[in-house]
């Protein structure tokens, strides 16, 4: 999924995010929400909800579904799909050293 033509940004050790939760990271001034699914998968999305700017990283994650903490809109963390809208998602992985790596366009 990750192509190596683009820049790889080291976000943090996977331990920085408790299993099943999300945290916000500042990537060049841009806040990005990174989620650590219980399955071990990580996801990265825009930080704020398109509805009323709710802090998505404070939501509840189950499988690849996220529920915004403010009014309960649901988003698919893989595709970004939400109710009549879409959130931006970013390609992200965890390497064998447990480092979260985010791909950003050059």
């Amino acid at each position: 999924m990750i192509t190596h033509h683009n820049k790889m940004m080291y976000i943090a050790s996977i331990e920085a995010i408790p299993s099943g939760e999300g945290r916000v990271f500042m990537v060049d001034e841009t806040p990005i929400a990174v989620f650590h699914g219980r399955s071990g998968r990580v996801y990265a999305t825009q930080a704020n909800c398109p509805h009323k700017e709710g802090p998505l990283a404070d939501g509840i994650v189950g499988g690849s579904v996220l529920i915004c903490p403010l009014h309960g809109w649901k988003f698919n963390l893989e595709s970004g799909e939400g109710p009549d809208c879409r959130i931006t998602t970013y390609p992200v992985t965890v390497d064998s050293d447990g480092r979260i790596l985010l791909e950003i366009a050059r």
Binding site: M9, A16, I60, G62, V65, P83
Partner: protein, 820 residues
Amino acid sequence: MQQHKKRLVVIGNGMAGARTVEEILARDGAENYQITMFGDEPYGNYNRILLSNVLNGSQDASEIFINPMEWYRENCINLHAGVRAVHINREECIVTGSDGTVEEYDRLIIATGSSPFVPPIQNMYTEEGCLRHGAFVFRTLDDCTRIAGHAVKCTRAVVIGGGLLGLEAARGLLNYGAQVTVVHNMPHIMNAQLDSEGAGVLQQTLERMGISFRLNAVTSRILGEDAVTGLEFDDASKIPCEMVVISAGIRPNTQLAKEAGLVVERGIVVDDSMRSVNDDAVYVVGECAQHRGQVYGLVAPIWDQAVTLADHITGKNLFAAYTGSKTAVKLKVMGVDLASMGVTHPAENDEVVVYSQPKKGIYKKLIIRDNQLAGAILLGDSSRAASLIQLFDRGTQLPEEREQMLFNIGSSANGASIQSTMLEMEDDTQVCNCSGVNKGTLRKCALSGIKTVKGVMEATRAGMGCGSCRPLVKEIVEWACEGQMDEDPSVHYYVPGVPLSKTDLVMNVKNMGLKSVSSVFNALANGIEDPGSKPGLASLLKTIWGGEYEDERDARFINDRVHANIQNNGTFSVVPRIYGGVTSPQQLHKIAEVAEKYDVPMVKITGGQRIDLLGIKKEDLPKVWKDLGMPSGHAYAKTFRTCKTCVGTDFCRYGLGDSTALGIKIEERFQGLESPAKLKLATAGCPRNCSEAMVKDVGAVAIEGGRWEIYVGGAAGAHVRKGDLLCTLNSHDEVLQMMGRFMQYYRENAKYLERTYGFVERIGIEKIRSVVVFNSEGTAERLDAAMQASVDAYKDPWLEAVEPHTPNQFAVSLPAGGIL
């Protein structure tokens, strides 16, 4: 391949036959069966109940087809349309059709429905045995076409039979410009579904529309030879008319079955799996079936029968059992709202509630037996019909406020609910005041095929805010799909993502020793983690396991991860505990200092008698708590919240009991206690009730004589309800014990997010009183002990200020590591 399939033959291609085949296909029945159908009518299957609309011109015949011919082809069903089955040979398993077709079967379904009953009236038939020209029955699409074709040429029409169908036919005939008289042989119309008062009101309404009535009239003879010219009655009186529609009841079509030697009484007798009682290869469904002595003439029971039959014949569920239906009818006459269900006349000791306003065509009657609905008539305003049908069908315990069942009052804090009928409510009336959803949007959503309340709520977001409009949303959805809602099994689950009721879930959790939310998903939900179910499971597991619970923080809502309430801009509010609302100058100093130090945007006295520091940044939370040095007030959690108090005996001239001291004790004891939903308590020093104890989840009100009245299930939020008096007690200690026992019973038995106002109403105060006060189940001691264990396990969550529980628990954002 074909040869390996068993052969299924269905006789009758009407509503029951075709629906049953649909149910069989839905269970992959086509993999095992090659299906053949005989249908006497030369069409695919149509919705017979809409024939009334076709007759009155509000729908075109082409609109009422459910399964057109292509459907049979697409599903590889061999349909003999227009072919009547004339013989069943059970020895050789062969059905013969009127055109000589022979079909062998391994399984046979008989769904021949019924035929109109034509009473013995002289001169009814021609010499050839046909109905005289101008005389009609009303059962099929062809009947409907013939009636319409003749009605346009008539000035006077008579309908024999003042039942549901007769009245619908009469109303339809009016549209052809004829004068219509309904002749009925009983003292009042619709005698099977109405009492005489109701029938009188209905008759007046129909008379205003132009229909005339002749009651207690027995038709003895049809007048006319080439064509009908009138009717003669048994008292020798006559009326002229050019057409007569006979609607005098129906008789199940059982001849074929009888000749084949199947057991037939009024209908073909079946067992609970809808099988003939004397031939395992033969199933029977619909109006021709007699089940537990009942023969039905409505579609609702047929749908249930079809499900059982399909489950059984496909082997999907060999234990599937149909146990009978309770039926309700609605009259489909434009401009008349009528629904009727159950008994029409009370038995001894029944309670009867009647509201009658004949001039407006309104008549409503409820017959209540053992606090359940035994029968109801709603005429002139059937806006409550859907909910009454549900109460009736499920045998639900009824609310004490009987008028709530008849009128849309007090059902929500919502202006829209005052509308007297669903029809009258404009499409642009806002129903959900939180998400701004109007009636039209809900209706369209339901009509688009989303036929569950939950589905409509999720699609439109109605009812997802404060929730006070949910009863109205439910009614609109029910109304829009005319009661034909899809069963949403998840309403019976404790949380939507684990298919178990609360009782079954608790049992499994205990037996399997599931102590964490993820272990529940793994063991009981195929490993599928449903985010919306996590907080509910966390709450339940904490209540079941107490200290042994394996706390996974991701299962909690953000409020419970950071012990504060999230606000619109992502900041949080901090409400320290102020026991019983009694504070001190020292506490106030402390709060003021903290407010200044952290630049708190707003300091507010709450409706819960304490102080709220609003707009705190997430990362400041631990510092704020540390500086305050006060325990959490849990203003964010599904837990015990507060106990409001009044000044009581300490200062008030009316005080009868020390409400302040009691309130503080209550709050000290129950603080932070997890429960299915918020618990807000209050104590009042006298019945003036200044602390609003009668509208709290649990309230104690001091009365003369040093005693305390305990109220439960009160509410004054999104829903308003006066609490029910549970019992009267003598001391603070007794109050603490009884409140604890009630709350434990609630914690164990309530659904997730069900406040006590819903819980008490659902279970019934009598039942709660017998268990909690009179120990009818012998559980009092256990409930008390369980409550004590929870109280002992309490730990102030704000202590996490000193030792955070998860990495970066209070971080607003973190710096990313950098480019590799």
